[in-house]
C-alpha cells in the first residue's frame, strides 16, 4: 500500500492512528484527579511540541541515522524557518500556507550553502563546522546584524520577532482572523469533548502539525527504503570504499543534508504557525544538542525511534519540571515521615528546575548502555520474549560487518 511493504505500512498506520487519537490517549486520567494534573499530556501546546519536534528529529535522522554525519547545528535551520514564517505573517497575512512554504524554502537554501561548505570535511570536523555555522547564525540573529547592516529590523535581536499592528500584511482582508489560520480555520481554536471527569481537546493547530509529521514520516520511510537511502547507508559504512568504486558521494550527502535541513525548516515554520513569535534562542547550540539527544534516546537510524525520542523528551520535560516537593510529599504520604522526607530530599535535585540534570544523566546512560536507544531496548525485550517461546529462533537483527 502507498508504495510501502506490509510491515512498513502497518507501522505507518500505527503512527497515523496514534497522531489521530493522541488527544484521547495522552489524557488517560480525569482532569481533576492528582494523577491527571501530573501526568496528563493531552493538552494542545504539548501535543504540538510532540509532533513538531518529532518531525524535526525525523529529518535529523535522515542525515545522522543514514549517513552517520553528526550535525551539531540543526537548530539553526529550525530558527531560520521560524523567522521566515513570522516574516510571511508580517508581510502577507496570517494564513499559514505561504509561511510554511517559505520556511521550507529558506531553510533549504541555507542548508545548501552550509552543507556545501561543511560537507567538505567529515567526522569531527563536520560536527564542529556545523556547530560553528549555527553559532554564527545565532550571533547574527541575536544581535540582528543583518538588520543593522541595512538599517532595518530582520530578526529583532533579543526581543524576538513578532507581528505588530502596523505591519503591512498586504493580503489581510476585512474579516480575516488575526491569529494564524488555514484559509479561515484558526490554528488555536479547539473542540473540547467532556465526558465524565475526562476532557479531551481537539485542536486545529495540533492536527495540522500532526498531518505534516505523518507526511514527513511517510517520506522518511520511502527514503529509507529507496536506492538513495541505500546509497547513504553505504556512505556511512565505508565512504572511502564508495569513492574507490568511482562514485562521487558528495551530491548524495548534500541531498541528505538539504532534505534534513528542510524538515527542520518545516518544523520551525510550524512552531511559528502555532505561536506567531520567534527568537534567536531557538538557534542556540544547546537547542541543537537537544535534537541530537532526542534522536539518540529514541534510536538513531530507525524509523520510529526519532518520533519516540522527541515524544519522551518533551513529555518528561513537561512532567518532571512540573513536579515539586509538595507533590512528592503527597505521593509518599503513606510512608513514615522520615522515609518520606529522605526520599524527597534525594529526588529533589532531579525535579522541577533540575530537569536538565535528569536529562543529562538519562542521555549519558543511553549513550553508554544503549547506543541504539529505546528502540534497541524494545528489540532486546522482544528478543528475550521470543527466545523463551521458540528456543531455536534466531534474532532477526543483523550486525554490519565492520
Amino acid at each position: 500500500m502507498l508504495g510501502l511493504n506490509s510491515r512498513d505500512f502497518r507501522l505507518f498506520l500505527i503512527v497515523c492512528a496514534l497522531c489521530l487519537f493522541a488527544p484521547i490517549i495522552l489524557n488517560p486520567f480525569p482532569v481533576a484527579s492528582s494523577l491527571g494534573e501530573s501526568f496528563n499530556a493531552g493538552y494542545p501546546a504539548l501535543m504540538q511540541r510532540f509532533v513538531i519536534f518529532g518531525l524535526l528529529v525525523i529529518g535529523f535522522n535522515i542525515l545522522f541515522g543514514l549517513t552517520g554525519y553528526l550535525s551539531f547545528g540543526h537548530a539553526a535551520f529550525l530558527g531560520v524557518g521560524s523567522f521566515a514564517a513570522v516574516w510571511m505573517f508580517k508581510l502577507l497575512s496570517y494564513n499559514v500556507v505561504p509561511a510554511i512554504i517559505l520556511s521550507v524554502i529558506v531553510a533549504g537554501l541555507f542548508s545548501v550553502v552550509i552543507g556545501y561548505v561543511a560537507l567538505r570535511r567529515s567526522g569531527i570536523y563536520f560536527s564542529i563546522l556545523t556547530l560553528a555555522f549555527a553559532q554564527m547564525m545565532y550571533s547574527i540573529a541575536f544581535s540582528d546584524l543583518v538588520g543593522k547592516l541595512f538599517g532595518t529590523i530582520v530578526t529583532n535581536g533579543e526581543t524576538g520577532l513578532q507581528v505588530y499592528n502596523d505591519d503591512p500584511q498586504i493580503l489581510l482582508g476585512q474579516g480575516d482572523p488575526t491569529v494564524p489560520h488555514l484559509f479561515g480555520l484558526e490554528m488555536n481554536s479547539a473542540y473540547t469533548w467532556k465526558i465524565g471527569g475526562w476532557e479531551f481537546v481537539f485542536q486545529n493547530g495540533y492536527y495540522l502539525s500532526a498531518l505534516f509529521m505523518v507526511l514527513g514520516f511517510y517520506l522518511s520511510i520511502r527514503i529509507f527504503r529507496s536506492p538513495f537511502g541505500m546509497m547513504l547507508r553505504a556512505i556511512k559504512s565505508n565512504q572511502t570504499r564508495m569513492s574507490y568504486t568511482g562514485l562521487d558521494t558528495k551530491p548524495y550527502m548534500l541531498a541528505a543534508f538539504v532534505i534534513s535541513g528542510m524538515y527542520a525548516g518545516l518544523a520551525g515554520g510550524l512552531l511559528a504557525a502555532m505561536d506567531p513569535l520567534t527568537g534567536a534562542e531557538r538557534m542556540f547550540w544547546t537547542a541543537s544538542g537537544e535534537i541530537v539527544v532526542m534522536a539518540i534516546l529514541g534510536g538513531v537510524g530507525t524509523l520510529v525511534g526519532p518520533v519516540l525520542g522527541a515524544g519522551v523528551i518533551k513529555y518528561l520535560e513537561n512532567i518532571v519540571s512540573k513536579i515539586n516537593d509538595s507533590i512528592l510529599h503527597n505521593w509518599f504520604a503513606f510512608m513514615p515521615d522520615w522515609m518520606d522526607n529522605l526520599l524527597v530530599t534525594i529526588i529533589h535535585p532531579f525535579i522541577g528546575k533540575g530537569w536538565h540534570l535528569t536529562l543529562g544523566l538519562l542521555f549519558m546512560a543511553v549513550v553508554i548502555f544503549l547506543p541504539g536507544g529505546l528502540m534497541q531496548l524494545g528489540e532486546k525485550f522482544t528478543a528475550l520474549f521470543r527466545r523463551k517461546k521458540t528456543d531455536d529462533a534466531k534474532t532477526g537483527a543483523t550486525n554490519p560487518a565492520e
Binding site: 553559532q135 547574527i140 542521555f363 549513550v367
Partner: protein, 343 residues
C-alpha cells in the same frame, strides 16, 4: 599606533583563555584521540574552585566581643574568619584578599583528580566506540556537571574579586614611549596573560625536556610501538588527561575576576575553543596556542569602533568566519599534520 597596540593587548587575555583551553583539548585529542565536549565544564570546575576557595577563606566563627555593644546594650557578636583568628588580623585579611591566586593550590589537586576520574571512569570505555559516541557522552557529561554546579552554587554569576593590589590599570603607554595614558591596560589581564604564558611554556617544557614527556610524545606519534616496547602508555595518557584538566581548571580559576563564573561559562568557552582547535590544526599543540592568540586578537580588532562602523556586529562572528575560511583553504588547519584525524 598606540590604538593598534591596545587592540593587540586586548586580544591577549581572551586569547590566553582560548589558548589554554585549546591546549588542553589538543592534549586530550592528541594522546587519547577523544574529542572532549566536557572540556568547557572542566574550565568551569576550575572557576568554581576559586569560588570555593573564597568561601573556605571566609568561613568564620562567631565571637562575642565584650568591648562593643549593639544598640540594645548586649555584647556584639562578631564574625571572625578562621584565617584571621589563626594568622592574625592583617595576615588573615591579606590571605582573603588573595583568594583567587591562592585557589591555584586547590585547583591543581582537584582538577588532576577530576581528570583522572573522568578518564578512568568514563572516557576509557569509549576508545573503541565511534567519535560520534565520544562527542555525545562528553556532551551529556558537560550537561550533568553544569547542572550539579548549578544545584550547589545557584544559577547567578558569583563575584570573585581579584587581590586589591591588582585593581586598576598599568600604563603601558609610558613604558613603550607613547604618551602617558594612551595604552592603559587592566593589571589583572596582564597578569592573566603572563600566567597563561608560563603555563603554556611549562606544558611544552614538560613534554619536550622530560623523559615522561618524551614517552608521551612518542605515544602520540605511534601508540602501538611504544606499547610494544613495554611501556604502560595508557597510564601516562591518563595522567595527560589529568594534566589537560588541570590546565583548563587553572585557566578557569584565574579568569574569574575578569568574568564572574556561572554554571554555563564553560559552554560559552567550549564552542569557541573547538573552533580554535580546528583552526590551529587538530592534534597540533603549537597550532592550538597560535590559533588561540590569533583569534583572540582578531576578535578584539573586530570590536574596534572603526571596524564596527563599517560592518556592524562583525566582532561576534569574525571567529566563525575566519574558521570557515581557514578550513576551506587549509583543511588541516594552520599547523595540522598529515594523517591526523583524516577519516
Amino acid at each position: 599606533m598606540d590604538a593598534f597596540i591596545l587592540q593587540i593587548l586586548n586580544g591577549l587575555d581572551k586569547g590566553s583563555a582560548y589558548a589554554l583551553i585549546a591546549l588542553g583539548l589538543t592534549l586530550i585529542f592528541g594522546t587519547l584521540g577523544v574529542v572532549n565536549f566536557a572540556h568547557g565544564a572542566l574550565f568551569m570546575i576550575g572557576a568554581f574552585c576559586a569560588v570555593t576557595m573564597q568561601r573556605i577563606l571566609n568561613l568564620s566563627s562567631t565571637v562575642i566581643d565584650e568591648t562593643q555593644k549593639d544598640f540594645l546594650g548586649n555584647p556584639l557578636k562578631v564574625e571572625v574568619p578562621y584565617v584571621e583568628s589563626w594568622f592574625g588580623e592583617a595576615a588573615g585579611a591579606a590571605i582573603q584578599d588573595w583568594s583567587v591566586p591562592l585557589s591555584i593550590l586547590l585547583v591543581i589537586p582537584v582538577m588532576l583528580l577530576v581528570g583522572w576520574a573522568m578518564e578512568r571512569g568514563l572516557i576509557k570505555h569509549f576508545y573503541k566506540r565511534p567519535h560520534a559516541d565520544q562527542i555525545l557522552v562528553t556532551f551529556g557529561l558537560a550537561i550533568v556537571i553544569g547542572e550539579i554546579i548549578k544545584a550547589f552554587f545557584g544559577a547567578n554569576p558569583i563575584q570573585t574579586p581579584m587581590p586589591s593590589a591588582f585593581i586598576g590599570t598599568v600604563d603601558l603607554g609610558a613604558w613603550m614611549g607613547f604618551d602617558p595614558g594612551s595604552v592603559a591596560y587592566p593589571t589583572w589581564r596582564l597578569i592573566y596573560f603572563f600566567f597563561s604564558a608560563i603555563i603554556i611554556a611549562a606544558v611544552f617544557a614538560f613534554l619536550q625536556f622530560t623523559t615522561f614527556g618524551m614517552v608521551v610524545r612518542a605515544g602520540m606519534a605511534d601508540r602501538e610501538t611504544v606499547g610494544m616496547l613495554g611501556i604502560d602508555i595508557d597510564r601516562r595518557f591518563t595522567l595527560m588527561f589529568g594534566l589537560a584538566a588541570a590546565v583548563a581548571g587553572l585557566a578557569g580559576a584565574m579568569y574569574t575576576p575578569i568574568l564572574s563564573p556561572h554554571y554555563n561559562i564553560g559552554m560559552d568557552f567550549l564552542v569557541l575553543s573547538f573552533v580554535v582547535v580546528v583552526v590551529g590544526g587538530m592534534g597540533s599543540l603549537p597550532g592550538a596556542v597560535l590559533a588561540g592568540f590569533l583569534l583572540g586578537i582578531l576578535q578584539s580588532f573586530a570590536s574596534m569602533n572603526e571596524v564596527k562602523a563599517l560592518i556592524p556586529g562583525i566582532d561576534q562572528i569574525i571567529i566563525y568566519l575566519v574558521a570557515i575560511i581557514i578550513l576551506l583553504t587549509r583543511p588541516r588547519g594552520l599547523m595540522g599534520r598529515k594523517g591526523v584525524m583524516e577519516e
